[in-house]
């Protein structure tokens, strides 16, 4: 198996070419991370809360089948139709078949990373259905025909100017307008029309409660409510890991979610759905798409605890400087880098290497996923599977030989330092040594520590 593992590196290099923009992106996300810190520090019980959330998730994952069956039973009792999808395709077919039953041609959709993961929009659009994303950030990137670059702030890579130009082109706002109030008003008018016309509303699910058969959708704009209440049919799509056992556990997660995501104490709207309204229909689609495979792996199971807050992205020094699109997957950043290889190991073999393993992601994670340790483990899996570049593998085999033989190591060290002293321009030639493109090499000393030590010993003893 051979892959082009440099994908992320190349995309990052392209993103960094506009250094001013990259700095702005970095600082914007750091600002969100700082807000998260202030929110976390406002709760003295923060670390206990994280521990509690992590334990609830550990427990839930250990009995996921039971809780999903309980969820299904209770949801059915409430009058919700429950569907099971093994993968993205099946999910899309189920959603489409519900639309067909209602002759629905216009749908509004609130933010859902699962539908992004399953590529629902293109699937429906190809079948003649108008899909309107109603989260403002999602709508912006939809108009630009781009995927989200962040799971919570999908258009975080864009500046006001980009939005002004985009709205001028699509929504008829004044050319050059950058006032957020004015642009938001325009989007609101545009979206209200779409809400009123929609036959079906699709939402994601933040938490589904096994005990009650209900589910919770968190938004800051109220767009999930507006869609679900106006349309005749509400389809809610969730990954199977989104189930929690009881309503009493919800408070733990709601307190952590938005503090971690944006530094807010809670989302503006935490909407609880339990049964269809009069004359309405409610569907819940439960999607696996590789999750049971991840569940079966002790090393990677923990990644299913993710509540999609995006805190790991905001803190990640790599994400902040390379942008979400460099990860070429629906869920970017550190968490995406441990989820994506489970879906397609070959396609995403580069992502576990797009990290310095600094560990900040694991520390901000509200459910304590050992993200950086999983990145390390994925590297081993990819190395074993032959999914890393052959040049890297050869280099590492060479190092193995070098470091397993002390005499060879000593000889190579001496030869290397001698070469660097005699031909410093070679060592600092960017075409031979990528280190030297933006950095200088250290000056090689005449003597290694080992040689110095041997000399000292000789002097003392001899």
């Amino acid at each position: 198996m051979e892959t082009a593992s440099l994908k992320h590196a190349e995309a990052a290099e392209a993103f960094l070419r506009d250094e001013e923009n990259a700095d702005w992106h970095n600082e914007t996300l750091w600002f969100v991370r700082s807000k998260r810190d202030r929110a976390a520090h406002s709760l003295p019980e923060w670390e206990q809360l994280r521990e509690q959330a992590s334990q609830i998730k550990t427990h839930t994952l250990s009995r996921l089948d039971d809780y999903l069956i309980q969820l299904e039973e209770n949801a059915k009792k409430n009058g919700i139709t429950v569907h099971w999808a093994a993968n993205g395709d099946e999910h899309n077919r189920i959603v489409h078949s519900i639309l067909q039953q209602h002759n629905a041609s216009k749908i509004v959709k609130s933010k859902s990373m699962l539908t992004e993961e399953c590529h629902l929009n293109p699937y429906l659009i190809e079948r003649g259905i108008e899909v309107i994303d109603t989260d403002l950030g999602e709508r912006i990137i939809q108009l630009r025909n781009e995927p989200p670059s962040h799971i919570v702030m999908p258009a975080i890579h864009l500046k006001k100017k980009h939005i002004g130009d985009l709205f001028h082109q699509h929504l008829g706002t004044e050319a050059g307008a950058e006032d957020p109030q004015y642009l938001t008003e325009a989007a609101r008018i545009h979206l209200r029309q779409k809400f009123l016309m929609a036959d079906v509303a699709i939402t994601g699910v933040n938490f589904a409660i096994a005990e009650t058969g209900g589910f919770v959708v968190c938004t800051n704009e109220g767009n999930a409510d507006l869609g679900a209440h106006l349309a005749k049919v509400h389809i809610a799509c969730m990954g199977i890991e989104k189930v929690i056992p009881k309503a009493e556990h919800l408070g733990v997660f709601l307190r952590l979610l938005t503090r971690s995501a944006t530094g807010q104490p809670i989302t503006t709207f935490s909407s609880h759905f339990r049964k269809p309204g009069p004359g309405q229909e409610m569907h819940l689609v439960l999607v696996d798409n590789g999750r049971t495979r991840q569940l079966a792996s002790p090393d990677f199971r923990n990644s299913l605890k993710c509540i999609r807050c995006g805190a790991c992205m905001n803190t990640c020094p790599v994400y902040r400087r390379s942008g979400g699109h460099s990860y070429h997957t629906a869920v970017a950043g550190p968490i995406g880098s441990i989820l994506a290889p489970n879906i397609d190991m070959k396609e995403y073999a580069d992502l576990p290497f797009a990290s310095t393993l600094c560990g900040s992601c694991s520390n901000v994670c509200p459910v304590k996923i050992d993200i950086h340790q999983q990145l390390y483990k994925w590297r081993q899996v990819l190395g074993e599977a032959g999914a890393v570049e052959s040049s890297k593998k050869m280099g590492m085999s060479g190092m193995d030989v070098l470091f397993s033989h002390p005499w060879l190591y000593r000889f190579a060290g001496r030869a290397g330092r001698w070469l660097m002293q005699k031909f410093p321009s070679l060592a600092n030639k960017p075409s031979l040594n990528p280190w030297a493109i933006h950095r200088d090499m250290p000056k090689p000393p005449a003597q290694s520590f080992r040689d110095w030590y041997a000399e000292q010993n000789k002097k003392t003893n001899g």
Binding site: L16, R379, F403, S404, Y409, G413, D440, Y453
Partner: protein
């Protein structure tokens, strides 16, 4: 206590003065230190690149070299963390486990084992920026982490405060990664360099004359950036300052 000095390969080859300072510092504190001559590398480069399997030879060599030592001390958080987490041997599993439990990064050895409370001879009258390396901080727990709601502390800082004349500067991002990341520095060259540049800029903005830290690999990254900028700001491993 038979202390084995572990000098990581790149320190041995490129920064012998760091090894010398570490040795002198330990000896000045009354520790008997031996340096096993056949040691090479901790195996981290292979492991972090996805080939932990290929570090078996390294592990074997390490165990062979340090088997007689009660504890192992090295001036590199990153290498020490790798050994603590991954040193492994099918043939000598007990030996490997004992060494994993008894390998220390220099600062933690000084604060936690030797319980050093003063360094009467240390003098370094400069404005110093401390680069907190990720593996030392988050991996070995050498200092508190800005992400966690927990009391603040720093073992390297605690030691630097014992040095006469030294002025420690504040940083905007006290624990941001420098971008070295082992082979990341080559395979993600553009990103790695940018991270290094940003890290250096934080120190320069706050008027550092010297940047220090417990990991020479991070410092090599920062030095590479400083040199390219023709900066007069110097890099010194914390051992060099504590031994000065």
């Amino acid at each position: 206590m038979n202390v084995g000095l572990f000098i990581p390969c790149y320190v041995d080859q490129f920064y012998p003065q760091v090894g010398i300072a570490t040795l002198r510092l330990l000896e000045s504190l009354g520790v008997t230190v031996t340096f096993p001559m056949e040691q090479t590398c901790c195996g981290q480069p292979m492991a972090n690149s996805g080939f932990q399997r290929l570090s078996a030879g390294c592990d074997k060599n390490f165990i062979q070299n340090f088997a007689n030592c009660d504890v192992v001390v090295g001036p590199s958080g990153s290498c020490v963390l790798h050994l603590k987490d991954h040193l492994h041997s099918d043939e000598r599993p007990d030996e490997a486990a004992r060494l994993r439990a008894n390998v220390y990064e220099l600062c933690e050895f000084l604060t936690d084992v030797l319980k050093v409370e003063s360094l009467p001879n240390a003098r370094f009258p400069h404005r110093v920026g401390l680069h907190t390396s990720c593996h030392g901080q988050r991996g070995l727990g050498l200092s508190s982490m800005s992400e966690l709601v927990a009391p603040t502390f720093s073992k390297p800082e605690q030691l630097l405060r014992m040095v006469d004349g030294l002025e420690l500067i504040e940083l905007t991002h006290p624990d941001e990664c420098c971008g070295f990341g082992g082979t990341f520095c080559v395979f993600e060259e553009a990103l790695s360099s940018k991270m290094g540049k940003d890290r250096v800029a934080d120190h320069l903005r706050h008027g550092a004359e010297v940047i220090t830290g417990g990991d020479m690999s991070c410092l090599m990254q920062l030095e590479g950036v400083l040199r390219r900028q023709n900066s007069s700001v110097k890099i010194k491993h914390i051992a060099e300052i504590l031994a000065s």
